[in-house]
């Protein structure tokens, strides 16, 4: 377990770092996939196989592909962070450092539980029931939103004057 956690942390944070530091946006996208997979691994570790599988399916399978398509269609690859102005570095770097410091000091102050309660045997079934009983309304709202996003994205991405 600690070993798995370590490997996943390496993958996740390494991937995220790669996203930020890669000069090629395509590389960023693949680093992003690494981070996504790492997060999915955490979900498995935490007993949420369903969410983990969905994470792989949606993020690694769909979102990442969308990103790659967008990169290739907009034909811009180089994006080095190193070329930004010192002021920008100071502003953003300071902000990030400040946030990290704030979060980590707060995390340290609190005694967190270390023992995971035994995972429910029918985790996926539980999720299904929860989705269709107490969470039906948000579920339906999300489905409507997805439909709206689908139509919206289609309209936006269609060529001007849309043939057919």
């Amino acid at each position: 377990m600690p070993e798995a956690f370590g490997i996943l942390t390496l993958a996740t944070l390494g991937g995220a770092l790669g996203v930020v530091l890669a000069t090629d946006v395509v590389h960023s996208a693949y680093f992003l996939v690494l981070a996504f997979l790492g997060v999915a691994g955490y979900y498995f570790l935490l007993g949420g196989e369903f969410v983990g599988a969905v994470q792989i399916l949606i993020y690694a399978g769909a979102v990442a592909v969308l990103f790659l398509f967008a990169v290739m269609l907009t034909r811009r690859r180089a994006d080095p962070v190193w070329g930004r102005s010192p002021a920008r570095w100071l502003g953003v770097g300071g902000a990030a450092a400040l946030l990290a410091w704030l979060l980590l000091t707060h995390l340290e102050r609190h005694p967190w539980p270390t023992k995971l309660p035994p995972p429910a045997p029918h985790n996926t079934a539980l999720i299904g029931k929860a989705l269709f009983r107490p969470f039906v309304v948000p579920f339906e709202v999300v489905s409507v939103l997805l439909l709206a996003a689908l139509v919206g994205a289609l309209l936006l991405a269609r060529k001007e004057g849309g043939a057919s």
Binding site: E3, V26, E49, I56, A60, V65, L68, F69, M72
Partner: protein, 316 residues
Amino acid sequence: MGQPYLRLAAAALILAAFVLGTAAFLVWFERKLLGRMQVRPGPNRVGPGGLLQPVADILKLTVKEDILPEHADRPLFRLAPLMAFVPAFAAFVVLPFGPGLVSADLNIGLLWILAVSTVSVLALIAAGWASNSKYALLGGMRAAAQMISYEVPLVLSLIGVVLAAGSLRLGRIVAAQAHLWFAVPQVLGFIVYLIAATAESNRSPFDLPEGESELVAGFHTEYSGVRFAFFFLAEYSYVFLAAAIATLAFLGGWSGPFLPPVVWFLVKTYAVIFFIIWLRATLPRIRIDQLLSFGWKVLLPLSLVNIFLVGLFRFI
């Protein structure tokens, strides 16, 4: 502490051997079958009935010069074949060959296979992109478009099975077919699945990403040697995987009289593989726009009808 990892490593090793062996065998199987269907002998020089032909091929590929195209995106170029193979391998992990004969019996097995296999799109795009060649890039993009399009009917056709079995665990799905194979009540879903799975694994008549007459060899045009072998391996792994899922989800899995379950499983799987190869030998390649509109306008509605019917019958 070391115990579970040791077991994991052993399972992985066995699986890897099996995947490699299966892929190699499939290469021979397909070539031989295609040859017979086209009234020619097929491979017949190396070993009995040409059975050792794949071994020779692999030896040849490993010793071949590894060519890196100029201006290629080196890290991605090197990574792409692995990316293609690893998801296939990961999918095998949850595949049950018989009762209890499974590396990791996840309770979301089917979903896991679906999720993991989508990741292989990334490999095709990476290969196409990194080769810095327009044929490769076009092939990669086509592959991505095709796989994303057929992912939808594929998943939807399996939802009917999940609904009927009430579980995502592959073992349970097989058990639910003790009396009747799902292929019978859900014949619509079965057909949709077969077509979509064939398209998913980029096989003829849906082999547009590597259509020789248009794109040379598609996304792996620039690949040679071991890297090419990996793509080859991955493709045949997917064929096996697709057939195995068809067996598990629609054809009653390993259940059958007299023979041991593993044999039944392999027999059914190879029957499906035989059918897929038969398709390749029979049908011409279709056009890209036909491909996409067929997926969205025919398969998708059909799979939805299937789900509706299953729900209706369960409700009754």
